[in-house]
């Protein structure tokens, strides 16, 4: 038996022993997701047990080095773990912007000290992070951001407003883009980290069309940020920001979820009985696209590992993956009929079909809009001319 075969066997046995049956059911709503952090509570004993088992094994971040809280798995091992978890439908033990976004940026740009401190906290689910990029006047044109950090020697005094800050009211710390030099657009931004409990930070929730309010306006009023709490170089935060956006886009595209069943036709047939012939045809064409995309996601991850992917490829994945996900939910609403319209009944699990459908409309906005993705593909991959 090769090393990888025995790793697969061990992994399968470990999952069998450690993943409770309740954690092998599809996530039904927000409360089924564990985000960690200082204010976190577990929904059930099973959720707690599953999280703790993974945390102790390094499986909240399997591919990170052991000294930073990971399991130090090689890429093929990490793929096997993903496959084995998908096979039993295991829920992610911990969801976190720290894992998807900040972690990769720290691994690349952080100092050894920062890595030891922050990565371990992320891996152990101790600190929940939020992302302070967007501002009311700076969305797609992010680099025009105005939040300003004034140099006060050993600290900055930060003033400004962020918007669309997901889970700002639930987060412990924020990774934040702050202008530290007004004379240089791209090279005047610093990537700062600070505690959301710092005096002068306040948040105000925003209600979404789904009826939920997962994000906030975030205000900084003379917030004091110590000078050692930045990543990369001062005024060169844009490099870190862009790198992180690449990971954010990958995550939103669903590329990391490639092993999960992509087709929905069979599932909807089971749920609703006979399918209208025109709907069946649309589902079939959707399943073609979805199964093809899942091959693309696998190819993309394989190529990323060996450095074969074009650096702008995550933009393509983000574009295609999010447009597909929106189409998926349109079809699920169509197949669900009037049952999918229910907004708050118990039967509809609090209107989860309708709310999820509405939520997916953000997929092609958050983390950069589809139009912006197409701009990047046109310029960086196809090298079409123009600003």
């Amino acid at each position: 038996m090769s090393d990888l075969d025995s790793f697969r066997a061990e992994t399968r046995a470990w999952l069998e022993a450690n993943c409770p049956p309740e954690m092998r059911e599809p996530v039904q709503g927000e409360e089924d997701v564990y985000w960690g952090g200082r204010k976190a509570t577990f929904k059930s004993d099973a959720q707690k047990a599953w999280f703790e088992a993974c945390r102790d094994k390094g499986y909240t971040v399997p591919a990170w080095p052991r000294e930073y809280g990971g399991a130090g798995l090689s890429p093929p091992e990490a793929k096997i773990l993903r496959e084995e978890m998908a096979r039993i439908n295991a829920r992610p033990p911990l969801s976190s912007f720290g894992i998807w976004m900040l972690g990769p940026a720290l691994l690349k740009f952080g100092t050894e000290e920062q890595k030891r401190k922050y990565l371990n906290e992320i891996a152990r689910g101790e600190i929940r992070w939020c992302q302070g990029y967007s501002e009311p006047g700076s969305g797609s044109d992010l680099v025009s951001l105005q939040t300003f950090g004034e140099d006060k020697g050993d600290h900055w005094i930060v003033n400004g407003q962020k918007i669309w800050t997901s889970y700002a009211d639930k987060a412990d710390w924020i990774f934040c883009l702050v202008r530290t030099d007004k004379s240089n657009k791209y090279q005047g931004i610093t990537f700062m980290l600070f505690d959301m409990e710092s005096p002068g930070v306040s948040t105000k929730p925003i209600k979404l069309i789904s009826g939920n309010s997962p994000f906030c306006e975030t205000f900084f009023d003379d917030v004091k940020v110590p000078k050692d709490q930045y990543v990369g170089e001062i005024n060169r935060g844009w490099d870190v920001a862009k790198y992180l956006l690449g990971h954010e886009r990958e995550m939103i595209s669903g590329a990391d979820n490639s092993e999960r069943g992509a087709g929905i036709g069979a599932m909807l047939k089971r749920q609703t009985g006979e399918l209208d012939p025109v709907l069946r045809a649309e589902l079939a064409l959707f399943d073609v696209d979805a199964l093809a995309f899942s091959a693309m996601a696998e190819k993309f991850l394989d190529e990323v590992k060996v450095g074969k992917a074009h650096p702008a490829q995550p933009n393509m994945m983000k574009y295609a993956g999010t447009e597909l996900n929106k189409r998926r939910h349109e079809l699920m609403m169509a197949a669900g009929g009037s049952a999918a319209l229910e907004w708050d009944s118990e039967e509809s699990r609090g209107g989860s079909a309708a709310r999820s459908w509405l939520r997916t409309k953000a997929n092609s906005i958050e983390g950069g809009t589809s139009e912006v993705m197409l701009n990047v593909i046109a310029k960086r991959i196809l090298e079409l001319p123009g600003a």
Partner: protein
Amino acid sequence: MPLYHDDDQAMLADTASQFMAEEGAIAKQLRHWRDRECKDGFGHALWKQMAEMGFTGILVPEADGGLGMGHVEAGIVLEEIGRNLTPSPFLTSSVVAATALGQANDDLRGRWLPGLIAGDSVFAVAIDEGAKHRPERIATRAEKSGNGFKLSGRKDFVVQGASADMIVVAARTSGTEDDADGVTLFAVPKDAAGLDHNAVRLVDSSMASHLTLDGVELDGDAVIGEVDGGREILNRMLDAGRVGAAAEGVGVARGAMDMTVDYLKQRKQFGKLIGEFQALQHRAAHLYSEVEIARAATIKAQQLLDAGAENASLMASVAKAKVGKAAGLAVKEGVQMHGGIGMTDEYDIGLYMKRDRALAEFMGDVHYHAGRVAELSGY
């Protein structure tokens, strides 16, 4: 297995790409033979050269003198064929017919494979009976006669049928039209009495024949596989053809897309390169995404087929359908974005549109394969 080419495959891709761009180029092959109204629709000299390169026997086992490679490798050659619109019997002979012969007895292999490997023989496959691909339905009959069979019926869209030295014919030895069982495959030599071709030129200037079998007498040893048990081999041929056509379609899509993107960087209107207009940039970027995804689906299907995986046939249909969508988009956007010049015969972009249309029908179109995806998925 990672979803990209390993070092050996990458080397083959380099070789195939260089060869096809030089020897298989549009001006040298497609236009050349088309303008001469060649009755075969392709050049035999190139076929011979492809044999010298080792391409013809890619899917033929080493024991039979071939290279014993897989669908990934055949796909590499096919993608370059597609990119250069190179007319050749590679897909029907080296992919589909070779897959059938792989299941044949020693006599048939000994009789036909050396000619294929040497580039001296050309094969065709006769499956469809009608304008649309419906391999579930086989009406052509083969009746027992002496120690052999007598074939009667009609086959359509037999690509290169009239030029072929041997045609793999799917016929019914028992049961009725729509039965899965009762199908038998025959290796029918070109000179068999009672074989008649009405060869027609298609939109892409390739040749296909409407084949009439009027009591064609064959020895029992012309049977490929088992009598009445041909459906499984037929299914293998179909899967090979699906991923093969998908790979060629990826090449067509990429060829058309590259031409178009190049044009966007050269053509000026309103004092600007038209590639600066966001309306065109976004469409080009969308097209790129679709073509990349279609290519990933194709490589996935090739690998699954080579591994003999359970879901290989599903993925073959996904690939054929997805490529059908993406290549269709590539040629339509290509002609449109070329403006008036895209409508001219002198410009190559229209040739891509024609090839795509023919390839879309070969082995089933988008709708056929989407329907198959639904069925295999249980709805």
